[in-house]
Each structure stands twice: as structure tokens, then as C-alpha cells.
């Protein structure tokens, strides 16, 4: 009895340091343990909640591991065909220009089958936010080689490691879209440490502000892990990501608004 009283004493609002955000639903996430998707979802949910955007937001979910994303955030959603989310978002934003519109896409979706939609939406400067989760693998279909799989990396369709002479090179699509006049803010972040989570959240908040100001396309790449696809423990996958993914996909801003850099 004394123990139960002790817990009750601790469970007080003033002691609460972490809580489920209002925008996250109660649905159980479909992700593997240690996957970065859940963290990225939470950051997005926090931003939508804190910015008071729930009634103003239309999200576009992709085909890939995050295909069921519409189950996890309590906002209006459209589920797009594989790779087509930026085209879908283009029409939503043009028909409802006052709403906050974003896509959330993986590397296969955004940088392989949807390359044309990605490039052209960014080049038109569609006033949307594109969130790009790059884990270098097709997670949902069982760990096949992705457009972003780095050289030498083993996947189920590059079982001896990616041979770039045979299979082509990994695509740095974020660097490509940064060269397009339509993109306003392009950054590459991660969500594997508390410090990186804070940086990613800051980037998302900026993107929300820029969309309000009709500045053009904001593009946030999140380099993330895939413990199951990479066949590593969550801890080891994050270490492997730091040692192998970050040298090829370095974190940080790639394109920042001119008025800001001039300061």
C-alpha cells in the first residue's frame, strides 16, 4: 500500500515531462522497434499541434513503410499512389491555397518511382512541404536496394553489396532539388539523438512559417535507420548510419533563404 501511494504521489501534472502529443492517435504504430519513422511522426505531430494547424492541414501519405501514416496523425489525409504524392499535394495546395499541405515519403517513393513528380513539383515551386525519409532501403517490401542505397551496402537485391558499376550510383536527390529555383528551404537532418530531434523539429517549424509566407517548396530529408532491413540492432543501426550514411549524406542545411544567409 505504501508503494502504491508513492506512485500516486509521483503521478502529478507538475512532474509530467513527456506525454503523447494531442495530434498522435491511439493506434499502435506498425513500425519495427528502433525505426526512425515513429520519431519523425511525433515531431510532425508536435509541430502541427503547437502551430495550431490541425484544422488547416492536409497530409499526403506515400506507398512504403509509412503507407499507414494516416492512421497515426489525427488530421485529414490523402493516401497517394507510389511516388505521386507531390502531384497530389500540388493540386490540393493550388485548390486550397490557405491550407498547410505536406507529403511524407520514403526513398523508393520519392527518389525512384516518383522522381519526375518530385523534381517538377520542386521546380514549379509548389508551396508545399516535402518530408523525405532516407533509410537507403525498401523497408516494406523486405529490404531491397533503394535509389539511395550507398555503395557496397548489402540489401536483398544487392546481396553482395551495391556494385555501382553494375547497379548504378546512389542518388543524392536532395542536392538536386536544392539546385532548382522553386525550392526555398532544403535541409538534411536525422532523428536518432535528442539533439538531432530538436534540429529536425526546428527545420519543420521553419518550413511551416515559409509555407504561410508562400515562399515555395520546402524539402526536409531525414536520414534514418532501418534495423530490420539492415539486419542490425537499433543501437548498432544508428552507429552504422553515423559511420556510413552521414559521410555520403552529410547533415545540415543545403539551401537556406537568401535574406537569412545575407544577415
Amino acid at each position: 500500500m505504501a508503494e502504491a501511494t508513492g506512485i500516486k504521489d509521483i503521478l502529478k501534472p507538475e512532474n509530467l515531462v513527456y506525454n503523447k502529443t494531442k495530434i498522435m492517435t491511439d493506434n499502435v504504430l506498425s513500425y519495427c522497434p528502433g525505426c526512425g519513422h515513429g520519431t519523425a511522426h511525433r515531431i510532425l505531430a508536435e509541430i502541427i499541434g503547437e502551430e495550431g494547424l490541425q484544422s488547416q492541414t492536409i497530409g499526403v501519405s506515400p506507398v512504403g513503410c509509412s503507407v499507414l501514416l494516416y492512421n497515426y496523425l489525427d488530421i485529414d489525409w490523402q493516401e497517394a499512389a507510389h511516388g505521386r504524392a507531390p502531384a497530389v499535394a500540388t493540386a490540393i495546395k493550388r485548390l486550397l491555397p490557405d491550407k498547410f499541405v505536406f507529403t511524407y515519403q520514403g526513398d523508393g517513393d520519392l527518389a525512384a518511382i516518383g522522381t519526375a513528380e518530385t523534381i517538377h513539383s520542386c521546380n514549379r515551386g509548389e508551396n508545399i512541404l516535402i518530408i523525405f525519409i532516407n533509410n537507403g532501403i525498401y523497408g516494406m517490401t523486405g529490404g531491397q536496394m533503394a535509389p539511395t542505397t550507398i555503395s557496397g551496402m548489402k540489401t536483398s537485391t544487392s546481396p553482395y553489396g551495391r556494385d555501382v558499376k553494375l547497379m548504378g550510383n546512389p542518388l543524392k536527390i536532395t542536392d538536386i532539388v536544392a539546385t532548382l529555383p522553386g525550392t526555398y528551404y532544403v535541409t538534411r537532418q536525422s532523428v536518432h539523438t535528442p539533439a538531432n530531434v530538436r534540429k529536425t523539429k526546428k527545420a519543420m517549424r521553419k518550413a511551416v512559417q515559409y509555407q504561410k509566407l508562400n515562399k515555395g517548396t520546402c524539402f526536409i530529408e531525414i536520414v534514418s535507420n532501418c534495423p530490420s532491413g539492415w539486419k542490425m540492432t537499433p543501437v548498432l543501426s544508428n552507429k552504422w548510419m553515423e559511420e556510413n550514411m552521414f559521410p555520403f549524406y552529410p547533415l545540415g542545411d543545403i539551401k537556406v533563404p537568401e535574406e537569412k544567409s545575407a544577415q
Binding site: 490541425q54 500540388t90 485548390l95 491550407k99
Partner: protein, 356 residues
């Protein structure tokens, strides 16, 4: 407001009718023989008047997915293309059907397969009425036979699409798209301000979130959805069949033809009647739902039916299913972008069917 009389190409009539129907958005990609639709809209610049969005997409694939996005916001949106471009749109069309979204798709058909020809054909019938993309679904398919109907079916197509939450298609061809005729245009309709309950426009605190998707990983739930679609299609078959009859009352021979072939057959009926041959024409206006019941009734009266189509014989399969063996059914038509002429239709009737 009165109707306005204009001389227009079929393609231009679609564009003008879309503006006047109060469409919210058009998304397209150039392809012959329908590029005039996008050209007309860009010149008309309706975003300055009605607020209608017009966008030239990077591909037919992007265009149909823009239609998906717009339709899911409850907006009146359309895309247009021609055969090879419509093939590219099929993925998007099945997603739209699977998500039960209303929209309008116009196919100004050219000859195929492959890159084919840019001349008119009716060889996309199967693709239009049997599904086209993967999965069990149907479009509502309207077949205009004049520039007037090109204009009229824009409004009708939108109405049916929204009534049934189902994509509608205008199945036209290069002849009707390119030819000029007089057309009575409806007065400008205001763009709708009402938002359907299912539309994704941002979730207010007063309702649950709206999710537009065609995904259901539970096969039991997916089958329930398939059954719901079938029930919808059955209602459409019950209520929305449209057709036109010409001289069918005493006909011994019956042409069955839609679109350009129906225009040809109207003349063929005249020519044959002048020679004392009792022939009539049934022109399906809706290709899905198909006027099967009426054809089955007519099969009790006529000796032979001839499906006249600019294809190797596609619609003939629906005529055969409709008459269910009651009468012989023949096919006649040209292919490869060649428009059948009225004389050869009569000649075929005389030599191959009456004399044969």
C-alpha cells in the same frame, strides 16, 4: 441567362463547357488530337474569372494524380488526354475508383496499339468500359456523337460523378474532337462552395478526420468494399442507361453504333431506307452502363444486329451479351484511324448480311 450559340471544335467545346460548368481545376498534358483543350483553357485563363485552376503537368501520370488530389478535396476537377496518355493515367484512375472520388476524364481516342496513329478510332472501348486499370471497378462512360454532346456531357459527367462518387469518362474520338459544329453553350455556373462531408479540407474539431485511400489490408474488409462497389454499379445500371433510337420501330436490321460511327450510321440508315431496306440504329449514349435491356428487347424484333465501330470489334461483345443468342450479331468497321463511310456500311449490309 440564355444559352449562347458558337461554332467550335469538339475539343474547344469541352474546355469552354468545363469553365461554364463551374469546374475548380483542370490538369493535363499535351497529346494529339486533344491539345486544343489545354490550349483553349490557357488562353481563356479562367483563374482570372471563375477562379478555376489550370495546370500543365509534367506527365499524364502527374495530371491524373493531381485530379486525385483535387477530387479528394471535394473539388470539381477534370483531365483530358488521348489513347496513349489515357493508358498512362490508368494507375491513377483505378486509385480514384478505389477511393470513390468523383472526377471527369476525357479520352479523345486515336488509333493504336502503341503510339499508333493520331487519326480517330474507337479502339479504347474495352479499356474504358471494362475497367482499364487493375482491380474490379467501372467508370461511368459517356459517348458523345456531336460537338454539342462534347459540351453537354461535361456537366452531365460531373453530375453523375458526384452523384455516385465515381469517376466518369467522356469517350470521344479524334473526329469529334477536331470537327467544328455549332454548339449551344450553357450559361456560366458558379463554382460550388459546398464541401462534401468526406472531403479532405482540414479536420475541424467538430468531425473525425477524413481519410481518402484505396488501401485495406484486411481481405474481409476489402471484400465488403468490393461488394459495396458492385451495389453502386448495379444502381448505376438501373438508373443511368441512356441511348437514342433511329427508325427502330419497323427495323429488320439494326446498326448498333456510338460516337462517330453512330453519326456515320445515321446517314447509312437514310441510304439503306431509300433502297427499301428496313434498317434502324441504336446509339448507346452511355457505354457503361450499357443499354443491354433495350437491345435484348429489340432482338425479339430484328433479324440481325451489326455492331459498327472503328475497331477490330470491341463493343460487339456487349451486344452479344445483351442479345444472349437471340439473333446473329456481326461486326463492321475500319481500323487504324480510318473513319468508316456511310456507303460502305450499307454495302456491307447488302453483300455480307442480306445477300450473304
Amino acid at each position: 441567362m440564355e444559352k449562347e450559340l458558337r461554332l467550335m471544335k469538339g475539343n474547344e467545346a469541352v474546355a469552354e463547357a468545363a469553365i461554364r460548368a463551374g469546374a475548380d481545376g483542370y490538369f493535363g498534358y499535351p497529346i494529339t488530337p486533344q491539345s486544343e483543350i489545354l490550349e483553349y483553357l490557357m488562353e481563356a485563363s479562367p483563374w482570372k474569372t471563375t477562379g478555376m485552376v489550370v495546370l500543365q503537368a509534367e506527365s499524364e501520370i502527374a495530371a491524373i494524380n493531381m485530379v486525385y488530389g483535387g477530387a479528394a478535396c471535394g473539388k470539381k476537377v477534370l483531365t483530358t488526354s488521348s489513347s496513349p496518355g489515357i493508358s498512362l493515367k490508368q494507375e491513377g484512375i483505378t486509385y480514384i475508383a478505389g477511393a470513390e472520388l468523383p472526377c471527369l476524364i476525357v479520352n479523345v481516342v486515336r488509333g493504336g496499339p502503341g503510339l499508333g496513329t493520331i487519326q480517330p478510332a474507337q479502339s479504347d472501348y474495352f479499356q474504358a468500359v471494362k475497367g482499364g486499370g487493375h482491380g474490379d471497378y467501372h467508370l461511368i462512360v459517356l459517348a458523345p456523337a456531336s460537338v454539342q454532346e462534347m459540351a453537354d456531357f461535361v456537366g452531365l459527367g460531373f453530375d453523375l460523378a458526384f452523384k455516385y462518387r465515381n469517376p466518369a469518362m467522356i469517350l470521344s474520338d479524334g473526329a469529334i474532337g477536331q470537327m467544328m459544329e455549332k454548339v449551344w453553350l450553357s450559361p456560366q455556373q458558379e463554382r460550388s462552395k459546398s464541401v462534401p462531408a468526406w472531403a479532405t479540407t482540414g479536420k475541424p474539431s467538430t468531425r473525425k478526420r477524413n481519410i481518402i485511400t484505396s488501401l485495406d489490408l484486411d481481405p474481409n474488409a476489402q471484400e465488403v468494399f468490393n461488394q459495396k462497389l458492385i451495389a453502386k454499379y448495379n444502381e448505376i445500371k438501373e438508373k443511368e442507361v441512356r441511348y437514342e433510337e433511329l427508325r427502330c420501330d419497323d427495323a429488320e436490321y439494326l446498326f448498333v453504333a456510338y460516337g462517330t460511327s453512330a453519326r456515320v450510321c445515321m446517314k447509312s440508315v437514310q441510304l439503306a431506307r431509300a433502297q427499301g431496306i428496313k434498317v434502324g440504329l441504336l446509339r448507346p449514349i452511355t457505354l457503361y452502363p450499357y443499354p443491354s435491356k433495350r437491345l435484348n428487347q429489340l432482338a425479339d424484333r430484328v433479324k440481325v444486329m451489326i455492331s459498327v465501330e472503328m475497331s477490330a470489334g470491341q463493343m460487339i461483345e456487349d451486344v452479344l451479351l445483351s442479345v444472349n443468342g437471340k439473333v446473329p450479331v456481326h461486326h463492321f468497321g475500319r481500323m487504324g484511324g480510318i473513319v468508316t463511310n456511310p456507303e460502305e456500311v450499307v454495302e456491307n449490309l447488302k453483300s455480307k448480311i442480306i445477300g450473304g
